[in-house]
Point group: C2
Chain length 597, copies 2
């Protein structure tokens, strides 16, 4: 293997945090000379960064090969037609990089390759005997993210492993899904960060069963919940809150008729609750709380074809709408704030006082021109609410769902909170944040149908193939590893993915020291391990130590004054533990450390 000499290695460590970095791991990747930003969300890989990337690729490749998946490589520059056939040319919206070639043909930069894999199998295969089949690629992908952030975690150009399984029936798909799931567990066990497997939604991809592998991180963009009691775990986007059971009939019968209350100056739920407690105390003796109010939130849905529609969501006043959860429900439409112009088109919506009576597409014989109205599943049939009266300065109390108002359906859009009951009824949810590192799901027949991928079954009948789709963010994994493996002094690479196995530092000016250190570096390299050797003649020991710490190779060997007494120091970067070792034992000691792993 190689010896990389610091005197020539294309690397400069930075003392200052880069302006474009937010997360601690990403700051260190830039400061330690692993990556540099080329454009928003677009990164260059410097020599050490590229080595880590390749090691992650190698781990992923090994496990994909082990489950019999076959590697190939599709282009990133793709024709429009297949993506038109599946609807994704439009559904991907602004996230798709589109371009026009010199002949005027529409092309795109592939965000994922379902279409290309489906067409390749259609091209080559025709019989159930050809299946099952799993194919994969490790390839550069493109998505024009609205808010590229957090360095490599959400880039616009990124490396991804995507694989696809092809089966004749659902049992085959289930088996392929499980094989991938197990391979992913082996991969993520090797990568060196904590992760959880959670239920997921499938977003714009279509399909059914779906799980995500999330790296647990307070800086993650995803929120997930886990129930210790039952083992339930899900991305909050995928949590399905059960529908609250109906209120008993006698309770409903005892609820007074709905009644308007003058509520001036109640711009917030809190002020509304205060006014109600003062002017219209509850008949049951409890005080009004935010949870007794029904908040109606209006947003705009922007459909891929550009059509804009308002949507009202009714939920208890003590909950917020979780826009990411809502987006997962309405995809491929996107969510936008409702604007003054939107409200102008709907004069029935009295801002600050919107109530159910003005909402919903239903109507009694009238045209359905209202705003679609969806309720949170916690709003039980028969429950009574304080809510807007659709006129300025007025709310209404004792408005009963099913008696005084109905909605067009329910929606899973309210925030899910730490401490909420688990949807399986078996305990309490705990919330944490994570970074999506892998996603596996049973895509089903959506793409095969759109692109006509059929094979002859045992009876000579054409059947549509069912597919699974499985992704790992390879460049993102480098970032996740960095976020999970660092301290104040720098990065601390897990041995599996470290850019080198050992970092040899020669200190002082004594030629004997440099000779001995160079000899060790060569001996170690001759044993098949990668070495960084700090041979810089005029750099102080302090700077060399700092550089070794920030670069983060797991084993550091310091050759210095001790050499005169026949000893060198071996330092463990993670534990900080140092020990002195006889010069003639150092190669064996380091090899043992590298190989024990």
């Amino acid at each position: 293997m190689t010896v990389s000499r610091m005197s020539t290695l294309f690397l400069r460590t930075l003392r200052e945090d880069p302006a474009d970095a937010e997360l601690p791991g990403h700051k260190l990747l830039v400061r330690a000379g692993y990556v540099r930003r080329a454009a928003p969300g677009v990164y260059s890989w410097l020599p050490l960064g590229l080595r880590v990337l390749r090691k992650v690729e190698g781990i992923v490749r090994e496990e994909m090969d082990a489950i019999g998946a076959q590697e190939l490589a599709f282009p990133a520059l793709l024709p429009r037609e297949p993506y038109e056939a599946t609807g994704r040319w439009t559904d991907y919206g602004d996230n798709l990089f589109r371009l026009v070639d010199r002949k005027g043909a529409d092309m795109l930069l592939g965000p994922t390759h379902e279409e290309m894999f489906t067409l390749a199998v259609k091209d080559l295969y025709s019989s159930y005997k050809d299946l099952p089949l799993s194919l994969y690629q490790i390839q550069t992908k493109y998505r024009d993210e609205a808010r590229p952030r957090a360095g490599l975690l959400r880039g616009r150009e990124f490396v991804m492993k995507d694989s696809y399984s092809f089966d004749v029936d659902d049992a085959g798909l289930e088996a392929a899904y499980q094989r991938h799931r197990e391979a992913y567990i082996r991969i993520f066990d090797k990568l060196g960060f904590d992760y959880v497997i959670v239920k997921a939604t499938s977003g714009a991809m279509g399909g059914s069963a779906s799980e995500e592998f999330l790296a647990v991180s307070p800086d993650g963009e995803d929120t997930f919940v886990r129930c210790e009691e039952s083992g339930y775990a899900a991305n909050v986007e995928a949590v399905v809150v059960p529908q609250a059971g109906p209120v008993p009939a006698d309770v409903v019968a005892a609820t007074p008729a709905a009644c308007e209350v003058e509520t001036p100056d109640t711009p917030t739920i809190d002020t509304l609750v205060a006014v109600l407690n003062e002017k219209r105390p509850r008949t049951d003796g409890r005080a009004w709380t935010a949870h007794d109010t029904l908040k109606n939130v209006v947003v705009a849905l922007v459909h891929p074809d550009g059509h804009r529609e308002l949507l009202a969501i009714g939920l208890p006043g003590d909950r917020q709408v979780d826009m990411k959860r809502l987006e997962a429900q309405v995809a491929p439409a996107e969510i936008d704030d409702a604007t003054d112009a939107d409200f102008a088109r709907h004069p029935e919506l009295v801002r600050g006082y919107i109530g159910p009576a003005a909402l919903g597409l239903r109507g009694e014989g009238e045209e359905q021109t209202g705003v679609r109205y969806l309720l949170d599943p916690s709003i039980a049939e028969g429950s009574a609410w304080a809510t807007g009266a659709n006129k300025p300065g007025f709310h209404v109390v004792d408005l009963v769902h099913g008696r005084d108002f109905i909605a067009d359906g329910t929606v899973q859009a309210a925030e899910v909170r730490d401490g909420d009951p688990s949807p399986d009824g078996k305990g309490v949810l705990r919330a944490a944040r994570g970074i999506e590192m892998g996603h596996i799901f049973q895509l089903g027949r959506k793409y095969a149908e759109a692109l006509g991928l059929k094979v002859l079954d045992e009876n000579g009948k054409l059947v549509t193939v069912t597919m699974g789709s499985y992704g790992i963010g390879v460049s993102r994994a480098v970032a996740a590893i960095a976020e999970s493996n660092h301290d104040d002094a720098g990065l601390i690479w897990p041995r599996n993915v470290s850019p080198a196995d050992v970092h040899v530092v020669a200190t002082g000016k004594d030629a004997a020291i440099f000779d001995a250190a160079a000899g060790m570096a060569e001996s170690l390299s001759g044993e098949g391990i990668d070495v960084i050797y700090d041979d810089r003649p005029k750099v102080s020991p302090g700077v060399k130590f700092k550089d070794a710490e920030i670069i983060g190779v797991p084993t550091i060997v310091v050759v210095g004054r001790g050499l005169a007494d026949g000893v060198v120091e071996i330092k463990d970067r993670r534990s900080g533990e140092r020990r002195e070792v006889r010069v003639d034992a150092v190669v064996a000691e380091v090899l043992a450390e590298v190989r024990e792993h």
Copy 2:
């Protein structure tokens, strides 16, 4: 290493040539299941193709590492600004894939990465002590070729190794250039096709000394010439024909005055020569030949900024203008046919009878509104010509260069022909065709100046860095190897790049045969070599043999009826030689064959 079973390998061989393939090697790459076209000039790599591509990458990487070049990876999606600073945003013309991101920022897909490498070095380095430096990447590049053709040979998405050297002075650049040249020789020696190293032009890249590595192939797009006597070799675009010496003064003095001749119905040089020989025989007793006529060819130059200009080229009537040679001279402008509209703007040009008198920017005090006029260097000062008289039906004879007309300069645009004298005066040129596989050149300071890459020299003075640029077409190399290594039955991979070391074929229906063949495949794989094993139970021996031939692995082992007698057959794919080998010796024999290489 792996055993790839034909029963599951994602591969189907085709009997028919694909409609989109022109060249024999490319047809075979498609028919044997190595690549598939995804869009014009854009290819997908199927499993076996990807293996060959990776092996070529490995050979290139090994030799680049050996000369101390350091690998990194730049993005393909790049911001406009650096390419604007060097002028290439415009100069690349329609060959550049441009796109606009969701925020309206101009971006491009990198055709080569001079700008990015230059900026990276500027970012990290600041002193002469940091140099010399060589960096490289093996990366996917994009060019929107006007005529993507010949499969992988000229793709719009392709894999390239590009490297760059950085030095403080010309001697350093020269040394870096030589190191790359030697590495390239080692690489191309390993790749398995005949190649030549020829002088080259640097095209739109700027720079000076420049050589190309061409794979010799009758299907190549490039024409090169070689002089056996002197060793001179050049791409025809780079041939510099010496300026012909002046005609002796006494000869010029003896040339009669120019004289118009009525030459109706002379649409071609041949008809003109015939008419002249009939109506106006030469005074020196020789017959008129095409070589005595001065042909004036008018083309349109389209500059990167869209400006369109006419250009007239004067050359002997027995030569054609070589448009590629001309393009190399006028780059970054492109050549277009002169249109009726172009001629309409220049009424002085009488089509079919254009002569020097109507050409040239010069004028006597008048405005310079003429068409720029450049002469072939074979047009000697003092030589006399038959040429157009600028009026319909008339030519002029005895028009003497320097006496009766002058031009605006010379141009290296005439075709170079087999048998032409070598420009070094030492023999005769022989012409052949080739495929550009590598290009090395001394770029100089163009990019460093445009982007401000300076370092402090030994005296603390800022000096501009000088650069070299070196490219190898990696995916193109796969195609060139295929073009050079095949027969009627299929591909014949050199062992270095073969997708597998050995192809084991089990024939018949006997379980013992399949067991023995599977055992051999496993044993060989256990010895560290890659095996394709044809285990398909219901496929005839004939089809299996045909598949093995077209796939082209260098060693084929056939396990069949001979097994009963304890023998199997080893076939050399290239020579066709077969021999019987004892079953218990086959693994050792195959290993010897693989390793002797």
